[in-house]
Symmetry: C2
Subunit: 350 residues, 2 copies
DNA sequence: AACACGGCAGCAACCGGTTCCCGTCCGGAG
DNA sequence: CTCCGGACGGGAACCGGTTGCTGCCGTGTT
């Protein structure tokens, strides 16, 4: 045991002060930069800092009120491509604004979400960004409202990103994108091609993102005086496997349709594979469309017609509005537009 | 301005103490749980805590030595599917072990990586996980070694995940997976199908992950006494666009080959699209294989034969070994296996 | 009835920083 | 030569918690 210093590492500002023969205040000032310090002293201090490989403890600085601010990001699963893009946007913007970024995935567990928000409040995060659709129940509103209030009263801020907004008056920033409008435009495009029976492969029926897209599907039909067969509406979740299963089931049941609109590109990918497995050609035998415009959509065969959602922009905006919020405009609600991108998977009906 | 309390929120333990008519120590002990407190006092304190919606400041606790430990995760881009899966593994395991998880994306900027590691040292992160291949230059080794030492001397730990290891003696934990072995097995599988000229769509030529896969490609050839035409080795990066471009160029140049092995599934996806655009059928005209086994690989058409890499497991192991490290086994180096998963995109040569 | 003991609460020190406030020392001006 | 002011460094209070130690008070024992 003959190690000298750097034993348990972590030297304190007092160690540095001692080594440089000055007081802790002086070290702090040298490192801080603004206060006048003679160059001789500065040199000695810097020397000691380098010798000891000293870095000020960020937590202690934070307590003293001069820390790097932090921002928290809560999502269900970082693995989904659209979530990943939002995360990317959040992280980039957070960094640009000098914030650190904590992440947590909830695996869809509500309880865990609540706990995490509580932790973030304890961490004094500047904002907590909650991402991803959810069931819009009274229970949801109350729970979320409670989180919003508690965060707000601690000087922080809840941001709902692609999530159902709360009632008016809730101290919350909401950034949404137009699920219904995008789906409406997409389905209108499909119907324009002459398709009469369009299968909709949806998500969970209580999930607001899924609902919005489904509403768009219905609205597009009604706008042309159509009333889609309820048998054409299928519900699952937003995964590839769900699309695969739903599609196979529809096929096995002999359901008739000439086009399929999937609630997400992932769902569309699974559906496409099921279609291929059944020996059907896309778009020859049936047309297919997705939603999200993940990078992969281009590489499916045929390239997938889908709705573009500016996910990264969404993430960036979430942090920007949450952080740049002023007392004048406390509650913001943004709605980002979506647009359909036409590729090769939708063809005219025969 | 008639708001009463909760004005700027953030009540302190002393506020709670005052309201409950006890000392701060008592509040701390009630919240801590272990120390004996009379039930009357406990009730009063809890009451005050609820009234004020008090949560102890995590940073202050951390300074006092009883905080939630934190772990940092540094990667190039969360958007890549394999990175996302590793991130998922890291996050899950971190949570299981009661750690918070900070992320940072570097966008490939080395300088930024160094700065971030420094910040994490200041944050007193329990471990810093660096993810993703890199050029293995002397400069890399020195820089990384420096980060490792500085982290180690601060009682933290550097973890290299899918990155070139440093020399012996560096205080570093390395978790790798077998790039070369996987590529070897994959290319051997392709060659066994009778292909003679196999195009390799690689990544950056100084990137260790890319190098490993390329070595596997070469080794598989040599093992059967083959010496591949250098014109068959192409270099780009790991993106979909790179695969698309490389493939198109090869096609335009009239290069001859009957199979393509891409360095990643993303590259394969781009290549597949280029192949389709050229009117070639896969695997009828040319066989194609990828690497990574991202979920989407199944949904390409044809379903992509590829190499499975246990990315999530990799992430989990990274945090487990970094955190579970004991003084007895300080430096660990793990190598995870990979295996080829055969789907439909590789067929016998004609 | 005196005493010992243990349960419970508070004071004060500490964690590792920052910063206010004050004292010293220096040089230049009158 | 004295006076004044600015540059510079240190002591101490503070940020918001935790915890060792001390002491009070009530109760059970002899």
């Amino acid at each position: 045991m003959t190690r000298k210093s750097e034993d348990a590492g972590r030297s304190t500002i007092r160690d540095v002060a001692a080594r440089a023969g000055v007081s802790a205040s002086t070290v702090s000032r040298v490192l801080g930069g603004v206060y006048p310090v003679s160059s001789a002293t500065r040199t000695r201090v810097m020397r000691a800092v380098r010798d000891l490989d000293y870095v000020a403890d960020a937590r202690a600085k934070a307590v003293a009120g001069v820390g790097t601010p932090t921002l928290a990001f809560v999502l269900e699963d970082i693995t989904g491509p659209s979530f990943a893009h939002m995360a990317h946007g959040v992280e980039r913007e957070a960094r640009r604004l000098g914030h650190l970024c904590l992440v947590c995935t909830t695996e869809g567990d509500v309880q865990h979400e609540v706990e995490f928000v509580e932790m973030m409040r304890a961490q004094r995060a500047a904002a907590v960004i909650l991402v991803g659709g959810s069931a819009d129940t009274p229970e949801y509103r109350e729970r979320t409202r409670r989180m919003a209030d508690s965060l707000a009263s601690a000087g922080s801020r809840l941001v709902l990103c692609g999530r159902p907004p709360l009632g008016p008056g809730a101290p919350v920033t909401v950034i949404e994108y137009d699920n219904e409008g995008g789906a409406y435009a997409l389905v209108a495009h499909v119907l324009t091609q002459g398709h009469q029976r369009v299968l909709f492969l949806g998500g969970a029926s209580d999930h607001t993102t899924a609902q919005g897209r489904e509403r768009g599907y219905l609205a597009a039909h009604r706008a042309r005086g159509l009333d889609p067969d309820p048998a054409l509406l299928r519900h699952g979740d937003f995964t590839r496997d769900s699309g695969h299963r739903l599609m196979r089931e529809a096929l096995e049941q002999g359901l008739e349709f000439t086009a399929v609109v999937a609630a997400t590109d992932m769902v569309a990918a699974g559906a496409l594979t099921a279609l291929h497995e059944a020996g059907l050609s896309v778009p020859g035998d049936v047309s297919l469309a997705g939603y999200d415009d993940i990078p992969f959509a281009r590489d499916l065969h045929p390239a997938l017609t889908t709705v573009h959602v500016p996910y990264e922009e969404l993430g960036r905006l979430a942090v920007r509005t949450a952080l740049g919020r002023t007392p004048e405009n406390p509650d913001e609600h943004l709605l980002l537009g979506t647009h359909v991108v036409v590729r090769d998977s939708v063809a005219p009906a025969k």
